[in-house]
């Protein structure tokens, strides 16, 4: 049989697209070590920008706030999503449609509209803007994505495992702790990682709902490039990238991240 012709055009296009995506990111990383202050050309390697960034208390404060917000948003979103998904199963068909509508509305609505609405609402009711409002604002849309992820796993799981657990004598609370949650764990982890990433690079909600005090790192970055693209910006950008990418890279390497369509490594051990 003749070998099928490799789709060469497809690989060329894939290459171009990947390059367009990753070359600028690579430039940011490289330039964070560039000694040339105007970043016009390669002026030799330096750790000066990293040094300045790491000693800039505003950068460090903002980084700390970004992490606090991200963790809080993740906990809140995943908890909400889990409750949503579990409630959905026992809900009446009408309540299910309502929940579906509410979830998809939060995904479809432009973030700027959500942020503006929350901002106006906060003004209306005299709610002080700050860290808490950022977390709530981000959780509004992050929890919707998390709900969809967890629901997908829940629907493939069916009721069979929980029926079996009850049949073997587990009361409802133990069924939840001993079977439902452990089986859902991979999807909960995936949802948490996604929310963490969404939160860390969110500008719109953080900008609208942060008020004058609470400033996250992406908001600081945006403010800085408005004036000039200082070499320091590259170092902040690279640092942010590391913070977001490290947990995912770690999970990919350890094989614990559930990649759709690929069986977990445990299952690949041949039965014998």
């Amino acid at each position: 049989m003749k070998a099928r012709r490799r789709p060469r055009i497809a690989s060329v296009f894939t290459g171009i697209v990947l390059a367009a995506l990753y070359v600028p990111i690579g430039l940011v990383v490289v330039n964070s070590f560039n000694a040339d202050e105007r970043l016009a050309s390669w002026g030799g390697a330096t750790l000066r920008w990293w040094g300045e960034t790491m000693s800039d208390s505003r950068v460090l404060d903002d980084l700390r706030l970004s992490l606090v917000v991200a963790v809080a948003t993740t906990v809140l979103s995943v908890t909400l999503a889990l409750a949503d998904a579990l409630w959905w199963r026992s809900a009446s068909p009408r309540a299910r449609r309502l929940l579906d509508g509410v979830v998809f509305a939060r995904i479809v609505l432009p973030e700027i509209v959500l942020a503006l609405g929350l901002f106006l609402g906060a003004e209306q009711f005299d709610i002080p803007l700050g860290t808490a409002t950022i977390v709530i604002g981000q959780a509004v849309f992050c929890s919707a994505y998390a709900t969809v992820l967890i629901q997908a796993r829940l629907s493939t799981m069916g009721n069979g495992l929980e029926d079996a657990a009850a049949d073997l004598g587990a009361p409802p609370g133990r069924v939840l702790r001993g079977v439902t949650l452990p089986v859902l764990a991979p999807s909960v982890l995936a949802a948490a990682l996604m929310v963490l990433t969404f939160s860390l690079d969110d500008v719109v909600v953080a900008q609208f709902l942060g008020g004058t005090e609470a400033e996250t790192l992406p908001v600081l970055l945006l403010g800085k490039i408005r004036l000039t693209v200082s070499p320091e910006v590259n170092a902040i950008g690279t640092a942010l990238m590391l913070v977001t990418a490290l947990p995912i890279i770690g999970l990919l390497v350890s094989g614990k991240l559930p990649v759709p369509g690929r069986r977990s490594q445990k299952a690949e051990r041949s039965p014998r």
């Binding site: 069979g160 029926d163 079996a164 009850a166 073997l168 004598g169 009361p171 079977v179 299952a267 039965p271």
Partner: protein, 368 residues
């Protein structure tokens, strides 16, 4: 708690409706302790719904479920002394084999060395000792099936419910599992209630069977009773192939245990049956293919009936040959005869069909 030694499972008026559909319709059943009892019926007859109501996994629309003489209708699933082997096994993917088997013991506070040795003993009994650390995903279908069995039996339930447990296995494995199930049932003395649509499987394993159709119990009895003396036309044809000879009752004997029937071929025969039909009623005489043979073969005694026929078709099946024989009234009967009897026959040949009416059974004529 009072224990009724005569009844492991007692259903009274059990009913389940899904919207406007009645899946289980006023079912009464009694299963004796230590019995291997099968619920047999085509798919959609409500047999799985009955099983789930016994387990407490499906709320009933009406009626009661008693286990060992205690009404458990209002008890939730986790407080009923029954366990289930599910059709798709429903093993916990996040636990290994030993964890799956220990799951029920842990719910009762069983931990430590004692629980561990119970799990080991159970795995030994189903032949899975070496696989205690495997995940369910790593096991073959037959091994998963045995884990599911072990997980249920280790709790020593009063009743083990089996929901088409062999449905997903290939033929060789099914045979093996049928033997294992029978053995475990004898060894543990547990009452088994088994759901299947496979007549041969139900007959092979069960002490008694209940034949279900459209949510109703059609007949309860030993496999032989159900096969030889079916309660109605549905049971007669569901449990095996059957020939029906149309006729009319001319006399009733023994208070309805025996009937004179005038067949459409013009002969009058004496046929056993259940009380019910009256003189003049249209009836069917049902005869199993293996109770018919071709003559002459020396079996004709004073009680044998011989009917002239021509061979319409025949199929050699190894130990037996199936012959479709056309009778004088143009109806066709199926005959399953020893291969040697049919050796010399060809399609179109004249022959005679021989049977003994006392080996047949009388049923009211099927409507339509």
């Amino acid at each position: 708690m009072t224990r009724d030694p005569l009844s492991a499972v007692r259903l009274r008026g059990l009913t389940r409706r899904f919207g406007s559909v009645t899946a289980v319709d006023n079912v009464d059943l009694d299963v004796a302790p230590g019995e291997f009892f099968s619920l047999l019926g085509p798919s959609g007859c409500g047999k799985t719904s009955i099983l789930r109501m016994i387990a407490g996994l499906l709320p009933e629309t009406g009626g009661t479920v008693s286990l060992g003489g205690t009404d458990v209708t209002d008890l939730p699933a986790h407080r009923r002394p029954v366990t289930t082997v599910f059709q798709d096994y429903a093993l916990f993917p996040h636990l290994d084999v030993a964890g799956n088997v220990a799951f029920g013991l842990r719910q009762r506070g069983g931990r430590g060395r004692d629980a561990r040795s119970q799990v080991d003993a159970m795995l030994e009994q189903v032949g899975l000792s070496g696989r205690a650390d495997a995940r369910p995903q790593e096991l073959s279908g037959g091994q998963r099936q045995r884990v599911a069995l072990a997980r249920s039996l280790v709790l020593r339930p009063e009743v083990l419910l089996l929901d088409e447990p062999l449905g997903a296995l290939d033929l060789a494995l099914r045979k093996q599992m049928q033997v294992l199930l029978r053995r475990l049932q004898r060894e543990t003395g547990t009452t088994f209630v088994h759901v299947t649509h496979d007549q041969a499987e139900a007959f092979m394993m069960s002490d008694r069977v209940a034949i279900l159709s459209a949510g109703r119990v059609q007949q309860v009895g030993t496999p032989a009773e159900v096969y030889r003396r079916p309660a109605n036309a549905f049971v007669a044809s569901f449990v095996g192939e059957v020939n029906r000879l149309a006729g009319k009752v001319t006399a009733v004997h023994d208070g309805g245990r025996c009937y004179d029937v005038l067949l459409s071929t013009g002969r009058t025969v004496l046929v056993p049956g259940d009380p019910g039909p009256l003189s003049g009623d249209a009836v069917d005489v049902v005869v199993r293919p293996e109770d018919l043979t071709l003559g002459p073969d020396g079996l004709e005694g004073p009680d044998a009936v011989t009917m002239d026929a021509t061979v319409a078709d025949l199929v050699f099946q190894g130990p037996a040959t199936v012959i479709w024989a056309r009778l004088a009234d143009d109806s066709v009967v199926t005959v399953s005869a020893a291969a040697r009897i049919a050796d010399h026959l060809a399609v179109g040949a004249a022959t005679s069909v021989v049977w003994r009416p006392r080996e047949s059974w009388l049923l009211p004529a099927a409507a339509a």
